[in-house]
């Protein structure tokens, strides 16, 4: 359809001026946007208050939607379950019998472990998560990988806390609202997690690539000892992430490291646990200011 010719609205002064100011406003909006962009790229947390207020207000609807998502998944499973129930009951009964034996063995091992730790005088703090919550959304159309969880400062979530699913590390909290918080996923290009190979403790970093995988960069140089299928766990250096948490499995090799796929696909993750900061980062003491010299 041809446009109504808004540009030349005839002899009406009012319409002409309205039109003219419309364009002025449009260009002014563009200019204001550029200013906002300069501020926010310089300091990424600059508009976070506004953003988290919006996320908080959208959180109830998003939680309902997340409920629907898990609801629909379980419906499918229930229907599928009718067709396989007999076989599965038999298998599960056998597994339970085996698991009882294992459980007794584990109890013995745990007891022995506690005794050995007591001998070494190791203290083990309470490692309960701060809160267990639902993932309620992610920035699925932006190249930045952020996700939103349904718990915020009211539930004790603070910036910097690590977030994990039963399968492994998901990310860490970067912004908090009162009832929701924003995570930086490990696949974001700004995320860098100190890691080691599970089998021998080979040190490195896992940097997000933004496409659902992470790049493993080794601290050592020379030959690349990584192989496909190597399990990568957090090393705990830096103090943000607890050591020994599973994060990814190597899928292909690059000259200086490897590409690995994170174990916890956020799309499959229903509940996540927010963990307290593993080791408080010491307050950075500002260097003593140089003596004020004469300005030239």
């Amino acid at each position: 359809m041809a446009a109504p010719n808004n540009r030349r609205p005839g002899y009406s002064r009012r319409a002409q001026y309205g039109n003219f100011f419309g364009y002025i406003l449009a260009v002014a909006g563009l200019a204001v946007g550029v200013i906002m962009l300069v501020i926010s790229t310089g300091k990424s947390e600059s508009f976070s208050g506004l953003r988290m207020a919006a996320a908080d207000s959208a959180a109830p609807a998003a939680k309902a939607a997340a409920n629907a998502r898990t609801g629909s998944q379980s419906t499918r499973q229930i229907i599928a379950g009718y067709f396989t129930s007999g076989v599965r009951v038999a298998r599960l009964e056998r597994e339970v019998a085996e698991a009882r034996v294992r459980l007794a063995e584990q109890a013995a091992l745990a007891e022995e472990n506690a005794r050995l730790k007591a001998m070494l005088a190791l203290t083990q703090g309470d490692q309960r998560p701060v809160v267990v919550t639902r993932m309620i959304g992610s920035t699925s159309s932006s190249t930045r990988r952020f996700a939103t969880i349904g718990a915020g400062t009211n539930q004790g979530v603070r910036v910097g806390m690590a977030v994990r699913s039963p399968l492994g590390l998901v990310g860490r909290v970067v912004e908090t609202g009162s009832t929701s918080a924003r995570l930086l996923l490990v696949t974001d290009t700004e995320s860098s997690v100190p890691v080691r190979r599970a089998s021998d403790g080979l040190q490195g970093y896992a940097n997000g690539l933004g496409d659902g995988t992470v790049q493993i960069r080794l601290s050592t140089t020379g030959i690349n000892p990584l192989k496909r299928g190597d399990a990568i766990v957090t090393s705990g250096s830096g103090g943000i992430y607890r050591p020994g948490e599973a994060i990814a499995v190597v899928t292909s090799l690059t000259p200086d490291g490897a590409i690995a796929r994170p174990l916890s696909d956020p799309g499959q993750t229903e509940f996540v646990a927010v963990e307290a900061v593993f080791e408080e980062i010491p307050e950075i003491v500002p260097a003593p200011a140089p003596k004020p010299g004469r300005k030239r």
């Binding site: 359809m1 419309g22 946007g33 501020i39 959208a58 998502r69 956020p266 993750t269």
Partner: protein, 183 residues
Amino acid sequence: MQPPLPSALRQFGKPRINRAASPVLALTTPWLLVMLGSLSPSWPVIASAPVLPPFGFLLLVGWQQLRPGLFPVWAGFPLGLFDDLFSGQPFGSAVVLWSAAMIALDFIDHRFPWRGFALNWLVASAFITAYLLLALQIANLGGANASPLVLLPQLAVAVLAYPITARLVALADRFRLIPIRKI
């Protein structure tokens, strides 16, 4: 054979002498639909890679091409501001890109007043490509460094989703013009 609809319902969408479209519905529907598209990050899709098309932007382009002049030229500013609250991009990214897109679409609209759907789709594809690439550049300025190759799946999905979005916009356009107000 026609399904037996109640006569009131059958008459509902038809133009009648003493009925007109409700101005509230006619004016708010386009804005609300675009804002609903901007809310897509809180839809129950959790992705570890950018896969969903930017629905807010697609709907904005769709409205502008179906009903040029329905949105004022400055509409990119408020709608972009709303999009920025949820998109995860550096704040101000959508304000700039949507404002620029509105001005450019207005120009194209006056340059080519008679367009078919193929041309609309071509123009929209060019706009979507430019939008995604520039959004990536802006995100990279703000600290990320993703390669443009990451965008390819999303770009394909977005270009293919445009016709569906245009149909959705057309549906919403019929909805907003339903004559329900008695004159």
